[in-house]
């Protein structure tokens, strides 16, 4: 247990962060290089103003017709993504770790808020799972990888909730929690989770096309 703890909070944590950071940089760089070589037009039509206009609409709840037609998905998606981002960064237990290791700290979430947000993430994952299984159009597109990703995302939150509430076996679960978080970090550059970084570009590009060339809305 002690050596496992040292491993997952030491070398494995470093590795996870490095893979996450450099893997993401590498993915970006190679896409950028490829785009420069093959999709010169993309740069020609990219327009910051219209890109931001489109991104702005799509980051506003119910800011597009698509979202209005899918209210449940919209509510869940927004709550899910917000919680997914805020909890790991601002939960007190994590900020303490930043403080311990790098002597930096920032705003922390009240426990009750972090707790609710964690539940939101877990329930959202359940909702997404239900959608994947239940809605024919989603099921048709679903691959094994999609379920794995759902698991990768849900695991740190389930184990985190468990550890925080000190349900039976929480000490061991804490270590699994750490590992699952690290797996998620490692997965980001190499799986569909990378969509968090491509979103501004795909949305921005179609926003630029629609705004600058097609003179039409894209939301």
């Amino acid at each position: 247990m002690y050596s496992h703890y040292e491993f997952v909070t030491g070398p494995f944590a470093w590795m996870a962060f490095l893979i996450f950071i450099f893997g993401s940089i590498y993915r970006f760089y190679s896409l950028y290089k490829l785009a420069r070589k093959k999709d010169g037009a993309v740069f020609e039509y990219m327009d910051l103003k219209f890109a931001l206009r489109s991104i702005g609409h799509w980051l506003t709840p119910f800011g597009s017709r698509s979202m209005k037609l899918n209210p449940s998905m919209t509510v869940v998606t927004f709550l899910f993504h917000i919680s997914l981002f805020l909890v790991p960064i601002f939960v007190f237990g994590h900020v303490v770790l930043w403080k311990e290791n790098f002597d930096i700290s920032w705003f922390t979430l009240p426990n009750i808020v972090a707790d609710i947000m964690t539940l939101i993430v877990i329930c959202s994952c359940a909702f997404f799972l239900w959608r994947r299984i239940k809605l024919p159009e989603v099921r048709y597109l679903t691959t094994v990888g999609d379920y794995v990703i759902l698991l990768i995302v849900a695991a740190p939150f389930i184990t985190g909730f468990w550890a925080y509430h000190q349900f039976p076996g929480f000490a061991a679960i804490t270590i699994i929690h750490i590992i699952s978080g690290e797996i998620m970090l490692i997965a980001i550059p190499f799986t569909k989770l990378f969509h968090m970084f491509t979103f501004p570009f795909t949305r921005g590009y179609i926003g630029s096309e629609f705004g600058g060339i097609r003179m039409a809305k894209d939301w």
Binding site: M1, S3, E100, G169, A171, A172
Partner: protein, 148 residues
């Protein structure tokens, strides 16, 4: 305590074993543990670890009960106060001096802008580093910050 048997075997196996141990109701478990191992009666001498300075914070984890005398007895620290109550002068550990008479915050929150976290991480590091070194005692959050 429940870690003393945990030699680095397979990770998940160990996790499961320690999970099993924790399933035993906490009170009974702790009491019996103390009775068996230390042979002394359970005494509830919680030390407030400069509690006031952290009281207002709703984001922190539950209060830690630190049974000072028992801990030292179990850890064989009776004479070695300076192991925890250390003294640093100009960044140098003074091996022959100890600081039981002053509170931790006197040094560790003496910066210009004192921050609760500064003190908190001192405890974390002090306790955990020793526990890891000795392969004894709690290391994960909930093992110390027990839910009331």
């Amino acid at each position: 305590m429940n870690y003393s048997s945990a030699k680095p075997k397979k990770l998940f196996l160990n996790c499961i074993i320690s999970a099993m141990k924790s399933i035993v109701p906490k009170g009974i478990f702790l009491t019996s543990l103390f009775l068996i191992i230390s042979g002394t009666a359970f005494s509830n001498d919680c030390y407030t670890i400069n509690g006031e300075s952290l009281e207002d914070n709703t984001n922190t984890r539950p209060f830690v009960c630190f049974p000072h005398d028992e801990h030292n007895e179990n850890a064989g620290l009776d004479d070695n106060c300076a192991r925890c109550h250390h003294v640093y002068t100009d960044g140098q550990l003074m091996p022959d001096e100890s600081s039981e008479d002053s509170s931790c915050s006197e040094c560790h929150m003496s910066q210009e802008k004192p921050n609760d976290l500064d003190l908190i991480v001192r405890y974390h590091k002090l306790c955990r580093s020793c526990h890891l070194e000795e392969k004894k005692g709690p290391i994960t959050c909930g093992e110390c910050h027990k839910k009331p």
